[in-house]
Symmetry: C2
Subunit: 660 residues, 2 copies
């Protein structure tokens, strides 16, 4: 048992590391680490199960700092607990270029950072996904291999963001009772007192969403510990409201917004040292305090060893499967299943919407990949994301593989990030492409973190028809292609859809989006090819010797390109069609390949039922673009294509005009 005095000194170690690092960087947020130091100290010295020597132990408890600006809280903890890749030098390099200790916690920079946080509310929703993953894997592999808590520390900002409501209501609905949220209730935000902008009764709000709530003094270690004990026994997720003082310990600035996002200054730091009886110089932790922290870092060594023994004792198949899943490797029969399916498509040559083609591909994929976990933001029948293998998960039965996320696109995408980060599962979603706007911040974070989440985004253009411009993506392909590291796919038929799924799943460290049609498409590919042509991003779909015209197109517009080609060839104009399912992958190909695909025909035309932005990379700024340059309209889709001039005739006319 840690004495109150020792506890205080351990918590103060966090406080001083945080304020000293912020001061040295002359940049950062000391207020949260100082205010939440007691909570973190109790949690990590008495409750958290983890092993600094094996930071990726699958059954570790997860800790998410949703209030990511308080990054020095995590960095301090990791150093103090003895994580080998977090030294005092790293702490001193806080916020410097190339350091592990970035302004906000960056997943992958150092062990023990479970997710990238900073954009508020995201971490909370990630934690919901982690708790979903835990429950799902516990159901699948048994509590001997999977049974841990997920803790998350959130501030007022996290709770004011709308995404928090989506996350909280989903967690409450799913009864994620091993999810425990600490609300750093310090009453302060950047503009000043929270009361300037909010008067929500957070306890009542969480209870309305079927959470258990507890209120404690966030500087009373025993009260915090009692609350965690109570939370661990709850049959609901628990919110522990911790009344804290932001910048606790700073005699003049504590409790004010001045301590939120700026260095304290040398005078105030000196005054804090005095007030907290801390005699050490900057970045020096007294030996007894460091020893106590390092001892805390060893708390779960035995638990980890016992877990290893249980894994070793498990049936070989179960052990192998568990290990494969957490390594993120696909099973050996995946490629052959896709190959067989592509062979079948080459025979059946189906005319289908790519959303339906995606369902058919998923039927194969879900059959060989037990780790996929699907879902939709209440558009299951429209997104075609549910297959014969994916029974719905319910609050009391996680044996299914499908989540009814509700009308919560943002919460869904962030929870998927959490599921992927947890490991052992590959999440895919369902939504309309237009509503990628609702979850864009989470898609961006998936790209920044480099994690495998796959978004099925149907109804991908004016081709959705009557629902009109509020539901017709026009700028979304461009906007999503703009996100670094995200693979945005827009397949042209069933074969391309299968290939895009294959590429998406094979990339362990990249998220993907699948833009899919509502309307039927004739097959672009009619012969089996063992190569995954979509993996090249763009490829010669219909070559032509000495082509005078090259038409580049994606998705539903490939059919238009092929019709235009037929008409041009009839007129004796040699015409090539290049299918472009994925910009990102194409631009990563070797220069030779790129040059060959772009080619040198005198006329270059791109066709996509979306804006031009980005297509100049294929056709040059003097190329012809056939697409949208405004919002869409409500009407039957075939009329819309004519109205907006996206037709084979328009392509032919443009080609002839350029050639003449």
């Amino acid at each position: 048992m840690i004495s109150r005095d020792k506890h205080n000194r351990m918590a103060n170690a966090i406080r001083f590391l945080a304020m000293d690092a912020v001061e040295k960087a002359n940049s950062g947020h000391p207020g949260l680490p100082m205010g939440a130091a007691d909570i973190a100290t109790v949690l990590f010295t008495r409750f958290m199960t983890f092993d600094p020597k094996a930071p990726l132990w699958p059954d570790r408890d997860r800790f998410v700092l949703s209030a990511g600006h308080g990054s020095m809280l995590i960095y301090s903890l990791l150093y103090l607990l003895g994580y080998e890749d977090m030294s005092i030098e790293d702490i001193k390099n806080f916020r410097q270029l190339g350091s592990k200790t970035a302004g906000h916690p960056e997943y992958g920079h150092a062990s023990g950072i479970e997710t990238t946080t900073g954009p508020l509310g995201q971490g909370l929703a990630n934690a919901v996904g982690m708790a979903i993953a835990e429950r799902k894997l516990e159901t699948e592999f048994g509590s001997e291999l999977m049974s841990h808590y997920t803790y998350v520390l959130a501030g007022d900002g996290c709770l004011m963001e709308g995404i928090s409501q989506e996350a909280i209501s989903l967690a409450g609905h799913l009864k994620l009772n091993k999810l425990i949220l600490f609300w750093d209730d310090n009453g302060i935000s950047i503009d000043g007192a929270i009361s300037l902008a909010d008067s929500t009764d957070q306890h009542a709000r969480f209870r309305a969403c079927h959470w258990n709530t507890i209120a404690v003094d966030g500087h009373d270690p025993d009260a915090i510990a009692a609350a965690i004990e109570q939370a661990q026994k709850s049959d609901k997720p628990t919110m522990i409201a911790c009344k804290t003082v932001i910048g606790f310990g700073a005699p003049n600035k504590a409790g004010t917004h001045k301590v939120h996002g700026s260095p304290l200054g040398a005078d105030e730091i000196a005054a804090t040292r005095k007030a907290l009886n801390w005699e050490e110089e900057a970045f020096v932790v007294p030996a007894d305090v460091l020893d106590a922290w390092r001892l805390a870092g060893l708390r779960s060594t035995k638990a980890h060893r016992e877990w290893q023994d249980r894994l070793a004792a498990a049936a070989p198949e179960k052990k192998g499967e568990f290990t494969r899943r957490f390594a993120g490797e696909l099973p050996g029969n995946f490629d052959s299943a896709i190959a067989d399916y592509k062979k079948k498509l080459a025979e059946t040559k189906p005319t289908v919407a790519t959303r339906k083609a995606s369902e058919d591909a998923l039927e194969i994929i879900n059959g060989v990949l037990p780790e996929t976990i699907g879902g939709s933001a209440d558009l299951t029948g429209s997104n075609n994301t549910k297959t014969s293998q994916t029974k719905s998960i319910t609050p009391d039965d996680f044996s299914g593989r499908y989540i009814h996320y509700g009308i919560r696109e943002h919460g869904m995408a962030a929870a998927m990030n959490g599921i992927a980060l947890h490991g052992g599962l590959i999440p895919y979603s369902g939504g309309f492409l237009i509503f990628s706007d609702y979850c864009r911040p989470s898609i961006r974070l998936a790209a920044l973190m480099g994690i495998r989440v796959i978004h099925v985004l149907t109804h991908d253009s004016i081709g959705l028809g009557e629902d009109g411009p509020t539901h017709q993506p026009v700028e979304h392909m461009a906007a999503l292609r703009a996100i670094p590291n995200l693979m945005m796919f827009r397949p042209a038929d069933a074969t391309e859809t299968a290939e895009c799924w294959q590429v998406a799943l094979e990339h362990k460290h990249r998220p993907s989006g699948m833009a899919l049609t509502r309307q039927n498409l004739v097959p672009a590919r009619t012969e089996y090819n063992e190569k995954n042509l979509c993996a090249y991003g763009a490829y010669d779909l219909a070559p032509a010797d000495g082509a005078k015209v090259t038409i580049f197109a994606s998705g539903s517009e490939v059919e238009i390109a092929m019709k235009a080609r037929a008409a041009l060839e009839d007129k004796g104009v040699a015409t090539r069609v290049v299918s472009v399912p994925c910009f990102e992958l194409f631009f990563e190909q070797p220069e030779d390949y790129r040059k060959a695909i772009i080619g040198n025909s005198p006329v270059k035309i791109a066709v996509e039922a979306a804006i031009r932005q980005g297509w100049d990379s294929f056709i040059g700024s003097d190329g012809v673009f056939i697409g949208m340059n405004s919002f869409g309209a409500s009407g039957p889709y075939k009329e819309l294509y004519k109205h907006f001039g996206i037709t084979p005739e328009a392509v032919v006319a443009a080609a002839e005009s350029k050639l003449s």
Copy 2:
């Protein structure tokens, strides 16, 4: 007083128009209009104050159909109430290309459509903005000119979206007691029963946010009426939970998700006609029912006349100001105030961050435009959006002109849309550019609707430094430029900032975004020019005869371009610099102007601390782009610029390499 039987027949008129129109279009959502017909009938025949002959009467009650898929509810109401631009032919043309009756209600298509809805949750947050505008204008002009209710009908989808929490908590905090929300509590969403995905106690949730809540049978007109009366007396906003049956009246499909988004089919429609004793053919409303509806349309004629009398009797200045404000015209002294300010800048030549320059411009603007209403999503001191004129609005005092929106970017942007739609005010926000992702759906709707909202988006690149990649926009300029009709500005100095503000304010029918720096910039413009050069979108900042190199740049990179130019000129290379504060406006210029600006120098270079996407329109696909091709990093900003190679030296090297 309308008898129960007459009420039922009036409500059934809505139901049959809705189901017949959806059937004819073979597309649409009959379930909501059928379920909510009783609510709408009570509201519009007993409570709503409006005048179909003067649909823009500023003091009308506002009605927002947040569940926009139920668009036939609005169209039916407008036709039945006698709005002159909604005929039965329009109803028959539901969802056809070019019709007023689009799939979802489109603002501007027909009178009485107060906002474009469909993306869920937006209308609810628009309504919060409308209620804010009403309270603000009541405070300013008195209740004799401004005193109305704002009603909103929301479904489960609206309430599950995170934006609803931001809107609800803001409305509760601000005590918007004239905001009355009907929750169409039908227990059904697209995937099936709401209980599949949610179990939130909505009453408790709204009460936690300081709303009044009432539960009624949504098919009992007197109960609905009693609830509205109670709500009108409340000192808080009120949520009326109306238990309804989706697709009410359809004998076999009512109460199921089958009636949500598909035509009922001929058989079910026939069965519904029988069940509801409705003998008329499709699109025929019995004369007595139509008469009763038309009479309801005249309910507020007297109230409107009395209001007109009060306006006529008002002091001339007040009357003139009120009229000007609702016409959306700027005051006569606006241009001269900006001109004077630009003259001053030409003298003082300040080196400032553009966020600070924006504050200085706003200090001038807010002095001459009493209609601006500012705010920030809890970043006031960082966004520099508060000026000496903008006292904070508080729940009990709306005499201020500044809203502490809290950490609610999405709710803020949607509320701003509502404020602009209401009329009489010009809203501007404050946020970080990175968090435009959080409110993108609302920015898109502002662009689609063509309304004047202005987003101040600071910390616009890696120039923000240490906060790192989670806070550094890289793809956001491209992603926002991709939205049709949105003017995205990125001014290079204080003069450009003032000009961009002027352009943004002068466009009544377009939203704007202002990407502004955290870091200081030396002035690009040092001479007074009476022309607003930024209005051209791009202009010759530093011409050069026979330029061998043209450098295009925006914002903070104009300084880099100018330094590179100086170095190249020193080496005898004639170099032009084009400043590009706004892509959208540039591409709307006449072809001659565009050609002249793009010019024909052999080397074209663009510099922007963001991705290349979009810049090929200036430099061609063989041009040189100096910018970002990945996410940013945490570190001091000057080091980041060097690290990512965005420097004058890099520009010079690229130019020389191209020229050699």
